[in-house]
Symmetry: C2
Subunit: 139 residues, 2 copies
């Protein structure tokens, strides 16, 4: 299998650069200041993995455990997330979203979804499946 050409690499770089600029979700956090990037990631992760712990989150996103501790603190103060002590291991903390948190997470999800939908809309129906296949292959 031959190497990608320099021109191909440059073309991809340019295209991804434009893509990143075009699809940059506007962070209109309803009701207050916008959430920090890590906070949004945590919200998404806890939505997908209810009851997970801070250590798990820290490992997933490659940040310090104390950073997650601060972030979950922020989110708890805002009423988006709650921390429970499970009885199996009383050192641990189980993270769960409140109703407000779930609503917020769903709103984020929707923003991402409509962004991805807009991307796919620019391709023909035939191309869409191919594109998704290729991205999956790369990832």
């Amino acid at each position: 299998m031959s190497e990608p050409t320099d021109e191909q690499v440059a073309d991809l770089a340019g295209a991804l650069d434009r893509l990143g600029r075009r699809f940059k979700l506007s962070d209109t956090a309803q009701g207050g200041r916008p959430l920090a990037e890590i906070d949004k990631l945590i919200l998404q992760h806890v939505a997908a993995h209810p009851g997970c712990g801070p250590s798990d989150v820290a490992r997933t996103f490659g940040v310090a455990l104390t950073t997650i501790s601060s972030a979950t603190d922020r989110l708890a103060k805002r009423g988006l997330l709650e921390r429970l002590r499970p009885s199996e291991d009383r050192r641990a903390v189980a993270l769960d979203l409140t109703e407000a948190g779930k609503t917020h997470a769903r709103a984020l999800q929707d923003m991402y979804q409509s962004m991805f939908r807009d991307m796919l809309r620019r391709l023909t129906p035939a191309e869409r499946a191919v594109f998704i296949e290729m991205v999956s292959k790369i990832a």
Copy 2:
């Protein structure tokens, strides 16, 4: 032209999520603490547009002008960038990279390039052209 299906949107979301996690460039800023994200963007932008001004940079990346002022200050202190007063408009500032800055920008560029090359390598030579075409179309 029909809409993308919800499943396609979800598949793309999942694939891009994995892709983002897989291709996250390790920020080994040589000689000191790593640069902030905006600093790297500025370095790249000034490399591509020598002599541009802070306002231009702020508009390009959608951040406050004062943020760019702080950032260029950081970069200047590190000896990566210099600010000159052009004689045409003495209010303005022309940003340019020093030799060290150019070296650093080139290193960043190389990291991105090898990342993009790795992505393309996962596709067959025939697929690569198609993929680049599609990404360009979306962007």
